[in-house]
């Protein structure tokens, strides 16, 4: 491991100051669950780690001071919240069920106890070609080995930019299903963007191919969750080989808001199959204004994977994710 310096930030300003170097020279560390093995494998070689674990402003879960048009108050989650805290929080479990469920499905209990919300959203891809040292787009090369290699677990079925590894986060699709926004601190001031813009798929930022759109001198401080309409139900379904400590082969975060038996609003977001949390508006549109039937759920599920272009080794992911979407919709509409 190349020697590096650690800076313990006490405030967001201190963190931003420490981060303000050239691209790739400083990295933020909180739980360290994604970063440390990449350092050990020499995939990243920072000079400075900015430890934000002591920044109190980044912690906690609270209602926002400002209300919204529909009368509800958004919930604001600090990026230092651990995945265990998210999985166990009564408010999240009741109002943002899919988010709490997704957090509970991440990795293993040990990792959830130290892994943070911010780290889970900003983690880079896990792909066995990258880990095995192949010179791919993420590692100095100009090829994605999943394209001609073995994509059964880590390949997207929707075409992405250069690197075709699926986005590994469980929490991100669930947050997108609630129209979450990311609050970002930067030397030029704070800004708030839809989570979908934080996680647009593989994106070049200052010459680095990243899984998120943050610049090297920026910090994800909080995630803001708008208050959902009254009768809102949500769930996260994850499919994998093992019951624990496994990334999703496919996942579905579905949120439906009802007026009586009629679906008033819908979000269908796929995980494990694209280079970003993959929202399927066409599937959502089929559901809105309708009573949910088995046929409608199946149609929406089929719609959700329209445009999928899987590799020969991961075409089964399309079947799997359709089943997850269909079952999630039916579960929310009819229970069970």
């Amino acid at each position: 491991v190349r020697p590096f310096q650690q800076v313990r930030a006490r405030t967001v300003d201190e963190a931003l100051e420490a981060l303000d170097r050239g691209p790739g020279q400083a990295r933020i560390i909180a739980g360290g669950q994604d970063l440390l093995f990449r350092i050990k494998k020499q995939l990243v070689e920072p000079d400075v780690l900015v430890n934000v674990k002591g920044v109190a402003e980044l912690d906690g879960l609270a209602e926002a001071a400002d209300g919204e048009a529909n009368g509800g108050r958004p919930l604001v989650a600090g990026s230092l919240l651990t995945l265990t805290q998210i999985a166990r929080d009564p408010t999240l479990r009741a109002r943002y069920t899919a988010v709490a469920e997704a957090a509970r499905e991440v990795a293993s209990p040990q990792i959830r106890n130290v892994g943070t919300l911010g780290g889970n959203l900003c983690q880079d891809v896990w792909c066995w070609y990258l880990q095995a040292g192949f010179p791919c787009w993420k590692h100095g090369g100009r090829v994605c080995d999943l394209v001609l290699g073995d994509a059964r677990y880590y390949g997207s079925v929707f075409l992405g930019h250069r690197c075709q590894a699926n986005h590994p986060s469980d929490v991100a699709p669930a947050l997108v299903a609630f129209d979450a926004e990311a609050e970002i601190a930067s030397p030029h001031g704070d800004r708030r963007i839809p989570l979908a813009e934080l996680l647009p798929g593989q994106v070049e930022v200052d010459g680095v191919l990243q899984s998120h759109s943050l610049r090297a001198n920026e910090l994800l401080t909080r995630v803001r969750l708008p208050a959902p309409p009254a009768d809102t139900r949500s769930t996260y379904r994850k499919f994998r080989v093992r019951g624990s400590w496994d990334f999703a082969i496919a996942a579905a975060a579905v949120r439906l808001s009802f007026d009586g038996a009629t679906c008033q609003d819908a979000r269908v977001v796929l995980g494990g199959v694209a280079t970003h949390p993959y929202r399927a508006p066409a599937a959502e549109a089929l559901l809105v204004g309708e009573r949910i039937t088995e046929e409608l759920a199946a149609a929406a599920a089929a719609k959700a994977t329209e445009g999928a272009r899987p590799f020969p080794t991961n075409a089964y992911k399309v079947d799997v994710v359709r089943t997850l979407v269909k079952r999630a919709i039916l579960q929310l509409a009819h229970g069970g």
Binding site: W128, Y153, R242, L324
Partner: protein, 776 residues
């Protein structure tokens, strides 16, 4: 059936001596050994699956302060490496100027600390000239394929000949007699043993003798191999097998780490230590070879199997079995014979095994070597034959199964002149008890007939495996009673997790009629212990246990003889119990064992041996494995709800330990069935899944409770009636689950691991009516 004798210690649930230390982390492994002035050693590995080394530039590494040694093929002895290299074709050296798989060792660096070590390793530059590769065993077996080795690609085969074969009867006539012929192709990936503790070794050289501590199952083989490659006499090398954090067969042969640290220690005069990372363990440990089996079998409508023809192609990697010849000779030879021993009433068999050199990592022994490579094919075939004629799968198996007193054909296949009678076969009991436990009558009459996307089914598989009595294997023990009354059993058997030392103490205690607390053992040290081949082929309690009994009997006889002289009593009047010599007639203690040892001049020593080829009978182990599953036909997910494993253990010397071995074996079999298996990049041959995450070993959330059933009908081949049983629980799990999936869905999933992609592909294939078979 004879009444089982009553024992005071044997058969009791004695807590394993090391259980608490292992659970609390106090146990010492190789990584815990640190010596003053010790160097750290790291291996530089090949990124190419096949390449010639044009040059290695080591100057920059050698120039780094703190670097003590750099070794390349130019610095290692020009001697063959392996436990018995002369007996194999491999011709492996510690390093050479050609690499043959991604991850093969190219050079080693020794340095003062880990930071310098890593930097030095990074500074070694190797110029490679890539060469054409063989990555597919079936293609590699063809004559027109690139030939990787002086002896060709097919291991141990003369040109055009298979690596191993089993022919009996006349299959052409058998197929002519068949009413139904089933042809299917069964596949299994190569699979790694994934011991929790990766390989490691520490070496110390005192100018005359080399001491090596190593995580290994076979300290005596390591000693012999080290002596040969380093140019030392065997008595100049001492190997101490540290308690292995898991071996599972893949630590049963000399891997390079001990030789590398030995060489560093001898060249620098300083102790040296190496400890593989998980990636290195995966790349340069070894795997069970993956196979494709083309099976064609005939059966009559009334349930007589008339012919079985199999062609198997296996992935040997380049270096078989870490150069001990385990794969090169034993795997193909045993796999086509062993499994057909279970069904020795099938008259016509024609099985050829081609184990093929490729540019993948080493293949070799893995828990249940010789059975695990083949049984998936045969146990799936039995299910498919039964379903083809509407027969009960258990009844079809029993009709063709081996019986007590049959001759063991395996011995002839292994080159021994005579066969021997097989001791008790409790296979029918295994199936009966398993059927009762799982509720066999609940299985679907019509496979796949259940409504809905989630379908439940029940399936089973039979199993046979060696139970310790392999003719070529030897164990020796020495029991010493000292003049202070101490009793110590020396045995060369390392602990890889089966806690044999506890079982051995039970045997000694039973034989001497002494409390276990009076007995100690020393083990796995080539200086202090007599020879033992180690924990391979299910032989711990069987071979070493027999030798321990015989050593104790010998010491007892010697003590009685000495006591008779000392006390002036006839030998026949004396007995030993509780550390005393008793006059049987009056039940009166006459002297302590300590006094007799003092009379003898200090110690009473008894030696005992188990020599497989000299034993009059042959012992096989048997098992019946039963699975109940829910299959989600829309996702390809399989939820294994129950696993019942009924094992013919002869007699459980310590049921606590035996159940632990069954639970562990079933879990490992579950892994091979459900997710484990090596993924090699189809273009480069590189291993893609090198980490715990991607090796997909099962977790507690995946495993159902293992329902272990001990069938205890005794065994005349062992002094206490035991059969070795640490391997057999593994092998039936994958076919039992596969057959349960068939019972649930009516779909043949013919490849393990049965991951969702394979299950969905099988469902889609059957929907289009495609057949997985091919005429061999």
């Amino acid at each position: 059936m004879t009444q089982a004798p009553e024992y005071a210690f044997v058969g009791q649930r004695v807590r394993p001596a090391n259980a608490v230390a292992k659970g609390t982390g106090a146990h010492k492994y190789t990584a815990d050994i640190n010596l003053p002035g010790m160097l750290w050693v790291k291996v530089v590995r090949s990124p190419h699956a096949r390449a010639r080394i044009r040059a290695i530039h080591t100057e920059e590494a050698r120039a780094l302060p703190g670097v003590a040694a750099v070794l390349t093929y130019q610095d290692v002895p020009d001697r063959l490496w392996g436990a018995n290299p002369a007996a194999t074709q491999e011709g492996e050296r510690i390093f050479s100027d050609q690499v043959n798989f991604v991850g093969e060792a190219v050079a080693a660096v020794a340095a003062e600390d880990l930071d310098v070590l890593e930097e030095a390793a990074n500074r070694i530059r190797v110029e490679y000239e890539p060469l054409p590769m063989v990555l597919d065993p079936e293609q590699g077996a063809r004559p027109e394929a690139v030939q990787l080795h002086a002896y060709g690609n097919v291991v141990q085969g003369a040109p055009g000949q298979p690596s191993g074969q089993n022919k009996r009867g006349d299959v052409a006539r058998g197929f002519a007699e068949a009413d139904v012929v089933v042809e299917r192709t069964y596949r299994q990936l190569s699979v790694h043993g994934v011991p929790h503790e990766p390989r490691g070794a520490v070496a110390q050289w005192d100018g005359q003798r080399l001491t090596v501590w190593q995580s290994t199952q076979q300290p005596f083989m390591i000693r012999n191999g080290l002596a040969a490659v380093l140019g030392l006499a065997q008595d100049q090398v001492r190997v101490i097998a540290t308690n292995a954090g898991g071996g599972f067969g893949i630590k049963n042969s000399p891997s390079l780490e001990g030789a590398i640290v030995g060489l560093v220690a001898m060249q620098t005069g300083r102790p040296a230590k190496i400890w593989y990372t998980r990636e290195e363990e995966t790349l340069d440990g070894h795997v069970r070879p993956g196979f494709v089996h083309y099976v064609k079998a005939g059966v009559t409508r009334d349930g007589r199997i008339t012919a079985v023809q199999v062609r198997s192609y296996g992935d040997n990697g380049y270096w078989g079995g870490n150069t001990d010849g385990a794969t090169g000779i034993a795997i193909p030879r045993d796999m086509c014979v062993n499994v057909m021993e279970l069904y020795n009433k099938i008259a016509n068999v024609d099985w050829e095994v081609y184990l093929v050199r490729t540019n993948h990592p080493r293949a070799g022994a893995y828990r249940a070597r010789g059975t695990g490579e083949a049984i998936f094919a045969i146990e799936c075939m039995m299910e498919d034959l039964a379903s083809a004629i509407g027969a009960d799968p258990c009844e079809l198996r029993l009709r063709h199964a081996i019986r007590t007193g049959d001759q063991a054909n395996i011995l002839k296949a292994r080159g021994f002149a005579d066969t021997k009678p097989v001791t008790i076969v409790a296979f029918p009991d295994c199936l009966a008890e398993g059927q009762r436990a799982i509720g066999w009558e609940r299985r679907n009459r019509e496979p796949g007939s259940a409504a809905g996307p989630i379908k439940r089914g029940i399936g089973m598989a039979g199993a046979i495996h060696v139970a310790g009595s392999t003719p070529s294997l030897v164990a020796e023990c020495r029991l010493t009673i000292d003049a202070a009354g101490g009793i110590r059993l020396a045995n060369g058997h390392p602990d890889q997790g089966s806690e044999l030392q506890t079982t051995l103490k039970q045997i000694v205690a039973e034989t001497l009629r002494m409390p276990m607390s009076a007995i100690s053992t020393i083990n796995a040290d080539t200086d202090e212990c007599p020879f033992d081949v180690g924990p391979i082929s299910s032989g711990g309690a069987f071979r070493t246990g027999t030798a321990a009994f015989r050593a104790t009997e010998a010491a007892k006889a010697r003590a009685i003889s000495l006591a008779a002289e000392m006390l002036d009593q006839p030998e026949g009047a004396l007995a030993i119990a509780d550390g005393q010599i008793w006059l049987e007639a009056t039940n009166e203690p006459l002297a302590t064992l300590a006094e007799v040892a003092a009379f003898a001049g200090g110690t009473i020593v008894g030696e005992g041996r188990y020599v497989g080829k000299d034993e009059p009978v042959y012992t096989y182990g048997f098992a019946g494995t039963f699975a109940e599953v829910d299959v989600d036909v829309e996702t390809g997910g399989i939820d294994v709800r129950r696993l019942v494993c009924a094992v013919d253990v002869g007699r459980a010397l310590n049921p606590e330990i035996v159940e632990g071995q069954i639970e562990g074996g079933v879990a490992q079999g579950f892994g091979t069935a459900m997710g484990e298996g090596m993924h090699y990049d189809p273009r480069s041959g590189a291993t893609l899944n090198q980490w715990f995450l991607d090796l997909k070993t099962p977790t507690t959330k995946d495993m159902p409770r293992v329902e272990a059933i001990l069938i205890e009908k005794g065994n005349e081949g062992h002094p206490f009636g035991a059969k070795g049983c640490s391997e057999i629980p593994l092998v039936g799990v994958a076919p039992a689950i596969r057959n349960a999936v068939f019972n649930a869905t009516g779909v043949h999933v013919d490849e393990i691991p049965m991951t969702p992609d394979r299950v969905l592909a099988a469902i889609a294939q059957e929907a289009t009516g495609a057949n997985g078979g091919r005429a061999p």
